[in-house]
Subunit: 220 residues, 2 copies
């Protein structure tokens, strides 16, 4: 997929370049994860597949030695038990779920950073990467998208409420370009994690002639 | 109702005592708001009524000259369009909804405070009061309760992520004591705001003999 990114608190200068490259190469190589929607008014549409994305990111990062999950120590589990991924002080959260989870993930990491809490085996968090999807992909209602996450992080940062060096990455695509996708068919489309079949397909995300805020994903 | 409270960042020294008293007197005079549950496994039970609570607080505070809502200026609406109540620099959020809204409300107010954003007509936020309900009341699933809110605020504060002087208030009750309640019957129990009837009743919240984490609300 194509990546877009915005940095906060001097992330580029503070995060080890080799580790950032591992993440960005894994995401660039990832085909667009898609599934059928079952939400009212979206039946029959292809949408971004959060479970497929999480799984693909997990497989790719574990191959490069990223730990997943990073369990949080007792006394620091108030906003959740674990962070998605970590390696040598770099935390990674893949966040394709409902938008309030962004604040939860980011404030949790900010607290761990400010207090330099050791996170065995990798040590304290020094930087955070948040992976999100762009708004142009059709998606389940109320799920976080890059442009929204960007506004939330800018708001926190502007109001001196984010000290952690953070890179927000958005997974996106060029309109009208044929790209590879992984089309997963689940046992029940909305809630099941049970994969029935998975196909490698080619899709178009919108086209050049008519630019919409959200583009349909079209099998080609 | 009976109040419990915890302060952060020197709230008691910084908030005007007369305004805090207005809030606390209004909450103390408020009968316990209750309604029928319709959630699976909770049918037939009386639960805390968030809509009833919000409405009762609104009526009481408007009488003392609190503005509601406090609209946020353009450019500061990223985490929502308005704060519930405000007067002379004191913001108030009544939060009985799903727990992630606490972080949203508190971080939003923290940003407004750190940036001293003018909030007409009352001026910049100087302190925040968050009103929540205690865990002992039966409630809709995943709704915020005082003990949980307290852990979240302590976590943020410990991690230098909350600068705003804040008082967290919990609405609670004494076990086994008969108290007044407002029992509201809605058009459909879960989603409707349309009130069908409202009764003043007396209830017991649990009893002295057996102390449980959550106590049933019993009509007497």
């Amino acid at each position: 997929m194509i990546l877009t990114a915005t940095d906060f608190n001097d992330f580029a200068a503070l995060a080890p370049l080799a580790l950032v490259k591992e993440i960005e190469e894994a995401l660039t190589r990832m085909p667009l994860p898609i599934k059928d929607s079952d939400q009212a008014g979206k039946q029959g549409q292809l949408i971004f597949d959060p479970k497929g994305a999480n799984e693909a990111i997990k497989v790719a990062l574990k191959k490069c030695g990223w730990q997943s999950p990073i369990p949080l120590p007792v006394g620091w589990q108030t906003l959740g038990l674990a962070v998605d991924f970590g390696k040598e002080g770099v935390l990674v959260e893949a966040q394709f779920s409902n938008y309030p989870f962004l604040l939860n993930n980011v404030m949790r990491a900010n607290v761990l950073f400010n207090e330099t809490i050791p996170l065995p085996p990798m040590g304290p968090a020094k930087t955070l990467i948040v992976i999100s999807k762009a708004k142009l992909f059709p998606s389940a209602n109320s799920t976080l998208y890059y442009e929204q996450a960007l506004e939330h992080l800018k708001f926190l940062d502007k109001g001196k409420s984010l000290q952690l060096p953070t890179r927000l990455i958005g997974l996106t695509a060029k309109r009208g370009q044929v790209i590879p996708a992984i089309y997963t068919h689940y046992h029940t489309p909305r809630y099941s994690r049970r994969v029935v079949t998975q196909e490698v397909v080619k899709v178009l995300v919108g086209n050049h002639n008519r630019v919409r805020e959200r583009e349909p994903i079209i099998l080609v």
